[in-house]
């Protein structure tokens, strides 16, 4: 029997910037869109195109899963994964978080998307409206009157829980 049949099957993915990545099937199957594609086209040997994912993003995602798969089966899997995720998220700047969210959404990677959206939410907590606009690169399209009316509504009606519990 040849050694080849024992080797892990590799899947080739091609990113938006035309780079090709060979990944273990186990990792590729974590991506919902890739998994569906493979199930529908089991015989295909062609590289799978991912026009919405950059090579930088994909290599980060692959790194993420390579680490996670290494934890699988270990007795402290949950703790290790949690610790890794904390570090992983911390290491990403705001631009990367945004890119990764879009990539994870496109690739249909549920758990990673949860982690990333939670991370983005954490970065927005207790921040100003202006910060949120800058973070997501969004323009304010409220008129000054509209914005003032909303701020008043928030302050007067929907302000939040009392600290005094009286």
């Amino acid at each position: 029997m040849s050694m080849d049949t024992v080797k892990t099957k590799k899947i080739t993915l091609r990113t938006a910037d035309k780079e090709e990545f060979e990944v273990d099937e186990a990792i590729a199957m974590e991506f919902g869109t890739v998994k569906s594609f493979l199930l529908e086209n089991p015989e295909s040997e062609d590289p799978i195109p991912l026009p919405n994912v950059s090579s930088k993003c994909l290599s980060t995602i692959i790194e993420y899963f390579t680490s996670h798969l290494a934890f699988r089966g270990s007795s402290s899997e949950e703790d290790e994964a949690k610790a890794y995720n904390e570090q992983f998220v911390k290491a990403q700047d705001n631009e990367s978080i945004k890119e990764l969210i879009l990539a994870a959404n496109y690739l249909d990677i549920k758990d990673m998307l949860d982690e990333l959206t939670q991370a983005a939410a954490d970065r927005l907590k207790n921040k100003s409206v202006e910060y949120a606009r800058r973070f997501f690169g969004v323009e304010n399209d409220f008129s000054p009157e509209e914005e003032a009316a909303l701020r008043e509504e928030h302050k007067w009606a929907f302000e939040g829980v009392d600290p005094d519990e009286d």
Binding site: K98, A120, F136, V138
Partner: protein, 572 residues
């Protein structure tokens, strides 16, 4: 710029839960506003008259959990007449008409009718949680509707409500299929309960974590309930009286020992002190102990009990514990964060149960203390200064010296310096209640130092308008100000009318403010609702402008003057 699909943004918003953050997010741009408003599930409205149910529903069609507060806080001291307002019915009616899938309703100081409860129970199929605090206007018939119709009820929590108890039968209205209860509190009900129905309900509620019984539930039923629910985390006993040599008592002891998860204990509405030793095995786990409804426990018993409670974080107790007892708390409860000492005899001849000494001992022994409610007979500046030094972390500080305008009992001076020390030391102070003899000086200190103060209660204090002005000008974060029997008048009221638009509400009763002053205020600030509450015989037309107003309550509102005000309330 990246394009974020709506569902991705919604996913991010799922993790943004604080009201403040959700408000910020909704202001980013119009599409964010749209996505946020469809996904907001929890809303807190601190004054039910600040906005209408229609506007709430229009903005947040995905609403699942609503908290509403009605009457002003001084209603707790009987200063607000019964029919003043705070009716929940218009809210429930409007919500019922809409397509909102309400699941949780929390109400404080509101008037709730049986009709409202019935409509609520029949309209919202996924309704899970009803919390009523200091409400009135309903009977056990309304509770019967909730029990019978809310198929997935998880929480029914009744705290300090005035309920007309039509006796027992409502308990039997929980259907056999109801197995989802997590929290059940009916301690404030006065009447009999169908004990068999209660036992069966607890037996079929495997998720029950919090159970607070009323006086009508005897000790032998308690024993049976604990046998069925050893998983309880929060227990309020009903009547705790039995013969300690009986078999029932011995069974209770073993039942309690099996309850290893109990962290919170209250009740003992009727108590036989000799039965308290059954509690000792679980005391070591307690983080919250509430004995404020147990006047049957004397100081020695309380002390004995507390000595077992080393992990206590919150303690609510009656002043019969005495200063010595507080000393035992101080040396035992090193994790204590909140202490409330209630008067056992508020109109009594001054059996000085707790004094400044007890408070000083607590402050010295419990460095984590951040929340205090302390009813006492006497206080000194020196004690308050020591407390301020020992406990700089107060967030809530409410001192209630029972006799108004009582000075420092050693020096006979006002307590200005003592409270001044508190506000200077406790930089995070959000809630403050003053008492004793106080001049304008204390308000100078408050205006100068209490930068985080959000709520202030003043009674029988100050010399003149300056006092009130120090507070209004200095406390930038002030949300609620309630004043009674103080020499503050129109000059203070009218100096900066714009200030009231930055606050939720202002209450002034038995002060120097006149009708004319209130009228001027109402005219200058159309976005405020200025209410005059006049319970005397006089009609609107005979009260002269120069006459002092008995009670004034003003609040900002987005929807103009309310339409449900009774005859004795005039809205200017």
């Amino acid at each position: 710029m990246n394009y974020f699909p709506d569902e991705v943004l919604e996913h991010v918003f799922d993790f943004i839960t604080s009201h403040k953050d959700r408000n910020s997010v909704s202001l980013v741009c119009k599409s964010w506003y749209r996505i946020e408003r469809y996904s907001r599930q929890r809303v807190f409205i601190g004054n039910c008259y600040s906005i209408s149910p229609e506007r709430l529903i229009a903005r947040f069609p995905g609403l699942k959990s609503l908290t509403l507060k009605g009457k002003p806080h001084f209603a707790d001291f009987n200063l607000v007449p019964h029919d003043w307002g705070g009716f929940v019915h218009p809210w429930i009616k409007a919500l019922a008409k809409s397509r909102i899938g309400l699941e949780e309703l929390r109400l404080k100081r509101m008037v709730v009718s049986d009709e409202s409860l019935e409509l609520l129970s029949k309209t919202f199929v996924n309704f899970r949680s009803l919390v009523l605090v200091s409400c009135e206007g309903f009977t056990t018939d309304g509770l019967a509707a909730i029990a019978a119709n809310c198929r997935f009820l998880k929480e029914l929590d009744l705290q300090e409500n005035e309920v007309d108890d039509h006796r027992g039968h409502w308990f039997s209205c929980f259907p056999e299929s109801c197995t989802t209860l997590v929290s059940l509190n009916f301690a404030c009900l006065k009447g009999e309960i169908n004990l068999g129905a209660l036992e069966r309900l607890v037996a079929r509620s495997p998720n029950l974590k919090s159970l607070k019984l009323n006086r009508a539930v005897p000790l032998d039923t308690l024993q049976k309930l604990l046998m069925r629910a050893p998983q309880l985390v929060d227990l309020g006993t009903g009547s705790y009286v039995h013969d300690p040599s009986s078999e029932v008592y011995s069974k209770l002891k073993s039942a309690i020992q099996r309850c290893k998860s109990i962290r919170s204990l209250s009740g003992f509405l009727e108590v036989a002190p000799r039965c308290m030793s059954a509690i000792y095995p679980i005391c070591g786990n307690l983080t919250f102990l509430n004995l404020s409804y147990a006047p049957g426990l004397r100081s020695t018993m309380l002390t004995k009990l507390i000595q077992h409670c080393k992990k206590l974080q919150r303690l609510w107790i009656l002043d019969c514990i005495g200063d010595k007892g507080l000393g035992v708390v101080a040396s035992t409860c090193k994790e204590l964060q909140e202490l409330r000492v209630f008067p056992s005899d508020p109109f009594g001849a001054g059996n000085a149960a707790v004094t400044e000494e007890g408070l000083v001992l607590i402050s010295a022994g419990c460095p984590k203390l951040n929340s205090l409610l302390y009813f006492c007979q006497q206080m000194t500046n020196a004690a308050l200064i020591t407390v301020a030094k020992n406990c700089p972390n107060f967030i809530r500080f409410r001192l209630c010296i029972l006799e108004p305008t009582k000075p420092d009992h050693v020096t006979n001076q006002p307590l200005d310096e003592g409270f001044g020390a508190i506000v200077q030391s406790c930089k995070g102070l959000k809630r403050l209640s003053l008492s004793g003899l106080l001049t304008d000086q204390v308000f100078l200190y408050i205006g100068m130092y209490a930068e985080q103060l959000e709520m202030l209660s003043i009674a029988f204090a100050g010399d003149g308008d300056e006092g009130m002005l120090y507070v209004l000008n200095g406390c930038k974060k002030l949300r609620k100000l309630e004043i009674r029997d103080c020499p503050f008048g129109n000059a203070a009221l009218l100096e900066d009318v714009g200030k009231y638009a930055t606050m939720r509400s202002l209450w002034m009763s038995s002060c120097e403010v006149t009708l004319e002053g209130c009228k001027i205020l109402a005219e200058r600030m159309p976005s405020l609702s200025v209410e005059i509450i006049n319970e005397s015989e006089q009609t609107e037309f005979s009260l002269g402008d120069r006459q002092k107003v008995d009670k004034m309550y003003l609040y900002r509102t987005l929807v103009g003057d309310r339409m449900d005000a009774p005859e004795f309330v005039w809205i200017l």
